[in-house]
Subunit: 225 residues, 2 copies
C-alpha cells in the first residue's frame, strides 16, 4: 500500500495534512466516502491535483464512488509517519522552546517532545511536565533513550554549534526553528520552519492590497487633514 | 518595474526570500553580478525555475551577463513589500507571543510588531521594550495608529473570537500562529504558519530513513540482546 514511484515532492507532503484534517472532520460527521472533487472544492484546488497528491498513499479511488474515507485517512497518516510517534528532544528552553513544550497538539502529528535541554535550565527543572536537563546530559540521554529527532529552538547565534552537538550525540533529524541555515552532512535531515517564507506571502499580499486601496481612494480623507 | 501578468503563485513568493538571502550574502562578498545558474546551483533548483521566479520582479537579466546583483536584490525586496515596514499588533502575549515579540529579525522582513494585547497583560506591562495592553484597548489603538496587520498568537480555542475582534477593530491581514483555520471574509488576508505542514515533510523523511535503516540492518545488534 505504501509503494510509490520515486520521492514525493515536498508541496504534496505539505498538502497532505489539510486533506487529513478535512477527512477526519467529515468522518466525525459520519461520512464514509469521499471523492477528489469533494476535497478539491473544499480546499480550493483542482481535482487533478488532489488525485495526484493522494496517489502517493497507494489507496485507489473507484470511479463514480471515490475513496473509502477511513481507509484514505489511515493511509495518509501512515504515509506521513504519523501513525508511529517520534520521540524528540528539544534544545533551547527559552520563550519559543517553552511554547513548543507546552503545545499538546504535536502528538496527533506523530511528535512527542519527551524532554528539553538548556545551557541554563530552569531551576524548577520542568516545563509543562517535561524535564529540563543541562546540555551536558544531552549525549548520554540521546544514546540511552535512542532519540533520533531534535527540535532546535536556541538563539540564532548558537544554532550551528548546538546543531553540531546534537548530531555528534546521535540525532540525525533536526526540526530547525532558528533562522540559521544549518550546514550538515547529507544523511542528516533538516526541516526549517522558515517564518521569512510565510512573511513573504503575507507582506506581498498586503502590498498589493495597499496598492488597490490607493487606486480606489487616491486622496486622503479631508476630515482628517 | 513591478508590472507582471496575473497573480504570482505562492511557491514563487516562498522561494524569493532564499534568493534574497543569498544575493545579500554575495553582495557582502563584493559580487556585483549574478546569473540564474549561480542561484540555481546554490539552491539545488533548475535555472529555468529561477528565471521564472525572478520574472515577477520585472528585472531583466542580460544574455551571458546575468542580472545586476544590487538591482535584483532591491527589486525582490520591493516586490515582497519588505522595503516598507508594516507595523503590526500582536494578540496573545503567552510563551509564543513573547518569543515573537522578542525576536528582532522581523524588521529586515518589513515587519515591526509595535505593541501587544492580552486578556491578562503582564503586570510589568512590557516585553522586549514593547508595551502589553489589555484587549479592551485594541479597537481604539488600531484606529488611532492606523494598524492593518495583526499577529495572532492566542490559544487555539480563543482563535476565532479574537480574530473577529481584530477584524471588527479594522485589522485586515492576520498572521495566524494558531492551528485554527479562520473563517473570514474574502477581503481579509490570512497567512497561516502551519507547523503540521512542516511536520509532514519531517516525519515522512524520518519514516523513509527508518525504513532504509532496517533494510541495511534487518537483525538487531546481538551484543544488546
Amino acid at each position: 500500500m505504501a509503494t510509490h514511484p520515486g520521492p514525493v515532492p515536498a508541496p504534496t507532503l505539505r498538502r497532505l495534512p489539510s486533506y487529513l484534517r478535512l477527512l477526519r472532520s467529515w468522518q466525525a460527521e459520519g461520512r464514509t466516502g469521499v471523492s477528489c472533487t469533494h476535497l478539491a472544492d473544499a480546499l480550493g484546488q483542482t481535482a487533478t491535483q488532489v488525485r495526484k497528491d493522494l496517489a502517493c498513499t497507494g489507496v485507489i479511488g473507484r470511479p463514480k464512488v471515490g475513496y473509502d474515507l477511513p481507509e484514505l485517512a489511515v493511509a495518509i497518516e501512515k504515509f506521513l509517519g504519523w501513525s508511529k510517534t517520534n520521540e524528540a528532544f528539544l534544545v533551547g528552553a527559552g520563550h519559543l522552546g517553552t511554547a513548543l513544550l507546552s503545545y499538546s497538539g504535536f502528538k496527533a502529528h506523530g511528535l512527542d517532545i519527551v524532554a528539553a535541554f538548556d545551557i541554563a535550565p530552569n531551576p524548577r527543572g520542568e516545563i509543562g511536565g517535561k524535564q529540563i536537563f543541562p546540555m551536558s546530559k544531552l549525549a548520554d540521554l540521546v544514546r540511552r533513550m535512542g532519540i533520533h529527532l531534535g527540535v532546535l529552538a536556541v538563539p540564532e547565534a548558537a544554532a550551528h554549534d548546538v546543531a553540531q552537538t546534537m548530531i555528534a550525540a546521535g540525532i540525525d533529524a533536526i526540526w530547525n526553528f532558528t533562522p540559521a541555515r544549518l550546514l550538515v552532512a547529507p544523511n542528516i535531515i533538516v526541516e526549517n520552519v522558515d517564518l521569512a517564507q510565510s512573511l513573504a506571502v503575507l507582506s506581498h499580499k498586503l502590498a498589493e492590497k495597499r496598492a488597490q486601496r490607493w487606486q480606489v481612494a487616491p486622496s486622503p480623507d479631508p476630515t482628517h487633514t
